[in-house]
């Protein structure tokens, strides 16, 4: 299984310059790739293209040689920096966790999701607690690639470690590929098999 961006170019507006131009990136199953580089030059955009949130104007994103599926549960899941924006504020946690798949007790335990959170509203959880929910939601059985865009940047060191431990364990067990976008060179060094600079792709 291979997730790749082939010569993708993208800009948000036709009057603007290209944000990404002929960018290439390959992620193998079971591989953890770090993506780094200065702010505002398209790291998040590349992740959005890879996850199918946006379509590139040129080039293509391929999963195992085929385009991304247009409907159904997506095998490429993206977890973003701000969990409070990624959940419906009018839904209880239990319902949020159930949206994509039935998150089991084992995964909840691994990510440190407490039973009593389930009946709360999103604004009654902290950012770290909410991000665990978002990570759990994205780790459905159909997920083959997980893209983490500054997933733990806003969180404290202990929460960070706990989330990454759980995610890496699951990734290894399922031979899931991962793309980790971060400014934290230390974190990337610990997690990744290889690190790519956005300028070089």
């Amino acid at each position: 299984m291979l997730l790749e961006a082939r010569d993708v170019s993208f800009r948000y507006d036709r009057r603007e310059d290209w944000l990404l131009q002929r960018a290439n990136l390959r992620i193998e199953a079971g591989e953890i790739v770090g993506l780094t580089g200065p702010s505002g030059i398209g790291k998040s955009t590349l992740a959005r293209l890879l996850a199918g949130y946006r379509k590139p104007q040129q080039g293509e994103v391929r999963l195992a040689g085929k385009p991304l599926p247009s409907s159904g549960y997506q095998p490429v899941q993206l977890v973003l920096q701000h969990p409070e924006k990624a959940v419906n504020p009018r839904w209880r946690i239990r319902r949020i966790l159930r949206e994509g798949w039935q998150v089991d007790a084992e995964l909840r335990h691994m990510l440190g999701i407490a039973e009593q959170w389930l009946d709360r509203w999103p604004n009654e959880l902290s950012g770290g607690e909410l991000q665990r929910i978002c990570v759990a939601r994205a780790l459905g059985p159909g997920t083959q690639f997980l893209l983490a865009d500054e997933m733990t940047t806003m969180l404290d060191a202990v929460t960070q470690a706990q989330i990454w431990n759980a995610v890496c364990e699951i990734a290894e067990a399922r031979r899931m590929g991962m793309l980790v976008i971060s400014h934290d060179a230390h974190l990337l060094g610990r997690l990744c098999n290889r690190i790519v600079d956005i300028d070089t792709i």
Partner: protein, 286 residues
Amino acid sequence: MIRKAHTFLSFRSTSWSARRLQAWLSVASVALLLLLFAIGALWAAGQPIVTALTLRNLPPSAAYWFGTDWLGRDMLIRTLQGLQLSLQVGLAAGIMSAAIATLLGVLAASGKWADRVVSWLIDLFLSMPHLVLLILISFILGGGVQGVLFGVALTHWPSLARVIRAETLQLRQAEFIQVSRRMGNNWLWIGWHHMLPHLLPQLLVGTLLIIPHAILHEAGVTFLGMGLSAQQPAIGIILAESMRYLSTGMWWLALFPGLSLLIIVRCFDRLGHTLQRWTDPHRARN
């Protein structure tokens, strides 16, 4: 640190409950007024309007609270019946208007071209004075209840449509909606489960705020003689007729019906604004 957070929270909750009490009181007083009116209207509906020439032009008294007119008709009964008709027309027109607004607002958010067409329509309708357009439509449709109803319904949707359009556009771009797409949910499912609960409060408030406008415009058009026919006990007709007698000193013919109309309209306005504050996501917590 924990203590600080605690006092902050408790401060928030007291001010919040005070505001809630205020909102409750406001809603309760409005509800009481509307209930009073409903009982009055129910009573008035069973009362025939009797012409009694011996009881002409009586000022307000214990027997005739709102006085009588130049044909000896009880103005209280006429006012209550008139208000009831005005309210029915206003409510129906307001709800129709809200339905048009929702349809067009959601349509506008669905695509670029639909957005252009709908936005152009909204601008067109907003750039014309309500009353002129209303009179025109009512006149084309031949006046009467039907004319006023469609006239009001077809002129009051643009501002709510604009709100619904903006909300829907914003929601479509919201991260949790995009995530929901990636979780394999289709637009229909997302529209029902994610978007509708967000739009519903806006819709409810919008409809409630259209209703007072609709009632006033119905009365206004009728007053000008382009609306409901003279045989109907509409509040606009009553006010128009009373104009002829005002100069002879019969002040009660205009004052009480006018005041009643104002109170009813204010009731709906108040209800709408209270609800609006209630459903504000920054203040309300489910």
